[in-house]
């Protein structure tokens, strides 16, 4: 089975491991993630105020090239997924904007592509039971805390991605891989987004709220689908350990990395060594790598 | 019952506002006689002064007139207007009430209500019915569709009574109904039960100087604003400032003027002001589209059916600006009315140079209620509201058998609650009368009939 795939800028640079793990895991499951022939940055934040149309030009160009390659577009990063899905809805539902943007980028696109996240592909195309059967390693001793952040779930009317106050897709994914779910209350709180650029204290406190809560729920590691959340959660843990005595740093993996480990793939290309909080000790201790 | 005479299946209802009228109709339509006593020359009470009613914006006259006309025409309802109950003896089943009628100076048996005397009378005085927003003649009826539509002479205003001159009304009256020598009259009425429904009036804001009521002409109270909004009011529904008759472009509405103020005025909440103020602001915007309406409030109390949606509509469709905070001072500066308020969220003091201010004063029981309470031996709380037998499960009974209460006389309430309490009081009376008159047996229904 072949699905057009949109990696996104960061998955080509900082989060190369996320991308490679995704491609190889899906290949192992018989799904070819075919990278779009030409794609550009998705814009990273959906333009909140309705008037500026330029921000939609970027994401729609990707949708146009996806339309040429199939009726679905799989996305790995939850932020790209949010922006592409909402831009797609604009092209599908808001006629005046559709005309302006089509004129602007000289295309004729009406939102016919279905934008899906890799987790949805696992759930709908592969199915959790088939996935469970494909798992090679025993993750039963591993407690994983799912982290959704904002982009998957909100705004609920447009994203329509799981129950926005009590999501379960990451939980089901973790259980399908055979691991335990560490339930903690801050799965959907904000990681700080770009505030680190000018207010480090705030960002650190925001990530600390999430990390400390995951630890309290005795999680061995956190799994997420967004490179920016991964960065904000992973980057400041040394400083937080100093600032908050007793806080034990906790590794933050991408969902595709955990998937690749569970499928028993060779982990070297997945940049596990490049995480600030090294995940390898706990994975080794659980006999997974 | 005192003597062995059969109890009287006739009820005395004191107060002919919507509560008294509703109770009277329920009882009269069930075949029993009603004596309906009202202080004013005609019936309708406060509701008659209203422009439109929340939450449906029905025009008050349109929904009240059928009731007043039905009560006025009902063969089993004896209307005694311009009258007061001055004494009561006996007890349940056998009350004797003394009703004193003030001199109307017009022979109502002859008068046809043609209105010529009102047209010709030269003397104009400020109209209490219009809350000082308009004038009325010395000889007057409360409104064009008054029931009964017969005038009375205000002896403090009529130049014949004050300075011995004029008598014009006597000259123009085609049926010679004017009778300056008419004296007060008293009648005795035998009844089996009593319903007290004397309603409310508004707290005098003169002693709340900070709102400028009484000093600043363009500061009026809620009922006065109702008269300005009313199609049959002094300004035919157009919003006009009392000082210069201009149309105000900025109007500030102030809630809880005298309510919820344990130290300075009444500690209790008057319940309906949040709703009628939202209505005032909406109706103002319907008439002055480019006007701005501010409402200073502490809590918005819109708890009844469709009330919250009404408050929602005021903000959404009519762009009424709600500012949460108390007003500290209202004073006049040039031809503007300056309001010093505050806003809780921003914690800032807020100043608005408005053209007009409308206050929502506390509701207090009618001054006569305390006299009635002593007369009937019913307890009243320290603010003069009559106390029902039990707050929760006996809301319309009183400690005195055969005497019931309904409407704002027990506490401030809106029209639906008043109407429900009026019918509830009627149900209690009907139950008494049915037992006394044995009506069900007469209709072939044996008591204790197997109800299966």
């Amino acid at each position: 089975m072949r699905i057009p795939y949109y990696p996104g800028c960061t998955l080509n640079t900082k989060a190369k491991g996320f991308d490679r793990a995704a491609r190889q895991s899906f290949a192992a499951l018989g799904i070819e993630l075919a990278e779009l022939a030409s794609w550009n940055c998705c814009g990273a934040t959906f333009p909140l105020s309705r008037d500026n149309l330029l921000d939609l030009a970027g994401p729609v160009r990707n949708l146009v090239s996806a339309a040429a390659e199939g009726d679905k577009l799989a996305v790995a990063c939850s932020t790209c997924f949010n922006v592409l899905k909402r831009s797609n809805l604009v092209m599908r539902n808001e006629e005046d904007k559709r005309e302006k943007i089509n004129f602007f980028i000289e295309a004729d696109y009406a939102g016919q592509v279905e934008v899906v996240h890799l987790l949805e592909v696992l759930r709908d195309e592969v199915g959790w039971d088939t996935l469970a059967k494909a798992v090679k390693k025993d993750l039963s001793a591993l407690a994983v805390a799912p982290y959704y952040g904002c982009m998957f779930l909100r705004p609920p009317r447009e994203m329509g991605f799981d129950n926005h106050e009590n999501p379960q897709i990451l939980e089901n994914f973790i259980r399908a891989l055979g691991a335990q779910v560490a339930d903690y209350p801050h799965r959907a709180e904000c990681c700080g987004n770009y505030i680190a650029a000018f207010d480090l204290d705030t960002t650190q406190e925001m990530s600390y709220l999430i990390l400390a809560s995951a630890r309290k729920a005795s999680a061995d590691l956190i799994v997420t689908s967004c490179p920016l959340c991964q960065f904000n959660l992973d980057r400041w843990q040394q400083d937080l350990a100093m600032k908050h005595g007793g806080f034990r740093p906790i590794p933050v993996l991408y969902d595709s990395q955990l998937l690749a480990i569970a499928l028993g793939l060779d982990v070297t290309p997945f940049d596990l060594d490049r995480h600030y909080v090294d995940p390898r000790p706990v994975l080794a201790e659980k006999g997974l790598i | 019952m005192s003597e062995d005479k059969a109890p009287i299946t006739r009820v005395l209802i004191i107060g002919a506002g919507i509560a008294g009228i509703q109770a009277a109709l329920d009882i009269a339509n069930s075949g029993y006689e009603v004596v309906l006593v009202e202080r004013e020359p005609s019936i309708g009470g406060r509701m008659l002064q209203l422009s439109e009613t929340f939450p449906t914006l029905d025009c008050a006259q349109c929904i009240l007139t059928p009731r007043t006309v039905e009560a006025g025409h009902h063969e089993r309802i004896r209307l005694m207007t311009f009258s007061e109950v001055t004494g009561i003896t006996g007890d349940i089943g056998h009350f004797t009430a003394t009703v004193q009628r003030k001199p109307a100076s017009v022979n109502w048996d002859v008068c046809t209500g043609c209105g010529l005397c009102q047209e010709k009378c030269p003397t104009k005085v400020t109209s209490p019915f219009d809350r000082g927003m308009g004038k009325r003649k010395a000889i007057y009826t409360l409104s064009p569709q008054a029931v009964p539509n017969k005038p009375v002479i205000d002896r403090e205003a009529c130049t014949w009574f004050t300075r011995g001159k004029c008598r014009l009304c006597e000259k123009v009256c085609p049926v010679h109904a004017i009778d300056y020598e008419q004296q007060a009259s008293t009648t005795q009425v035998e009844v089996g039960a009593v319903i007290i429904a004397t309603g409310y009036t508004l707290y005098g804001l003169e002693n709340l100087g900070e709102y400028g009521y009484g000093q600043v002409p363009d500061v009026v109270d809620g009922l006065a604003f109702e008269r300005l909004l009313s199609a049959s009011g002094p300004t035919a529904g157009k919003v006009r400032r009392p000082s210069d008759g201009k149309e105000p472009k900025q109007v500030v509405f102030i809630q809880c003027a005298g309510s919820r103020a344990p130290e300075t005025a009444m500690p209790y909440c008057s319940k309906i002001c949040c709703m009628y103020t939202a209505k005032h602001a909406m109706l103002y915007k319907h008439r002055v589209h480019d006007g701005t309406a501010y409402i200073f409030y502490i809590d918005v109390r819109a708890a009844g059916k469709r009330y919250e949606e009404f408050y929602h509509r005021a903000t959404e469709e009519d762009r009424v600006l709600y500012v949460r905070g108390k007003v500290a001072r209202v004073f006049r500066e040039g031809d503007q009315v300056v309001v010093w308020g505050s806003d809780t969220l921003s914690g800032a003091s807020v100043e608005i140079a408005a053209d007009m201010v409308v206050l929502a004063p506390a509701m207090i029981p009618h001054p006569e209620t305390l006299r009635l309470a002593e007369m009937f031996g019913i307890p009243a709380n320290e603010y003069g509201f009559l106390l029902p037998a039990e707050d929760n499960i006996l809301p319309v009974e009183t400690v005195r058998p055969g005497v019931f209460v309904a409407g704002a006389v027990t506490s401030p309430k809106d029209i639906p609650e008043t109407v429900a309490q009026a019918s509830a009081a009627a149900a209690k009376v009907l139950a008494l009368f049915a037992q006394w008159s044995g009506v069900p047996e007469a209709m072939g229904i044996s008591v204790g009939a197997d109800a299966s």
Partner: protein, 203 residues
């Protein structure tokens, strides 16, 4: 917790437009209408229950919480709002819109206010955010994709905080997270054309 600017009961910052002895606000109801049109949000529906402020991830770091900003807009305090730090701290996570009982998105209002602030020349309280966003777009304009090294370097230069996090850049570079050479994509010419057309169009 990050230091919070507490709002004293007697409001301190007076709006320059209407200085009054007692820090009093003058209400200008027209500002509400302008912001409603720009943001397509019914701000007038708000009854200030503050559910948005309660759930906003960055509210405690803001000088005015989201509901507070809506109230200042309602009361017409334009300078106050366009100078505030809050509008730049909003990350667009849409939690406020998700939970608002009246369906108002404070995020959309903040976005509209950001645009208004830029268009009317108000210096953003958080200048560096603007610089970051601009660099982001420049990187796309040049390469069609985000190239972190050039973006961060330019951001450092323009935002003036050269030295904090310098080690951040270096270590990321060493770990190969940031490729030295930017990836050039074929559609670059198309993208630059879009920017030019936009520059002419909306300015």
């Amino acid at each position: 917790m990050a230091t919070q600017a507490t709002v004293s009961v007697a409001h301190t910052a007076t709006s320059s437009a209407t200085p009054a002895a007692r820090g009093t606000l003058r209400v200008d109801p027209t500002f509400l209408r302008t912001v409603e049109t720009l943001s397509h949000e019914n701000i007038r529906l708000c009854y200030y229950c503050l559910k948005c402020t309660a759930g906003c991830p960055t509210a405690y770091a803001m000088d005015y919480g989201p509901a507070h900003i809506l109230k200042l807009v309602q009361l017409g305090q334009k300078d106050e709002v366009l100078r505030s730090k809050a509008i730049w701290l909003c990350v667009g996570c849409e939690t406020c819109w998700t939970r608002c009982p009246n369906g108002i998105s404070a995020g959309h209002v903040m976005d509209a206010l950001k645009q208004m602030a830029l268009r009317e020349g108000y210096a953003p309280a958080e200048r560096r955010v603007l610089v970051l966003h601009r660099q982001f777009l420049t990187s796309i304009r040049l390469f069609g994709r985000v190239h972190e090294l050039s973006m961060l370097a330019l951001y450092k230069l323009l935002s003036g905080d050269l030295f904090t996090d310098l080690d951040l850049g270096a270590r990321m570079f060493l770990r190969g997270k940031i490729p030295i050479l930017p990836e050039r994509i074929r559609g670059r010419a198309k993208i630059q054309q879009l920017f030019k057309r936009q520059a002419r169009g909306q300015g």
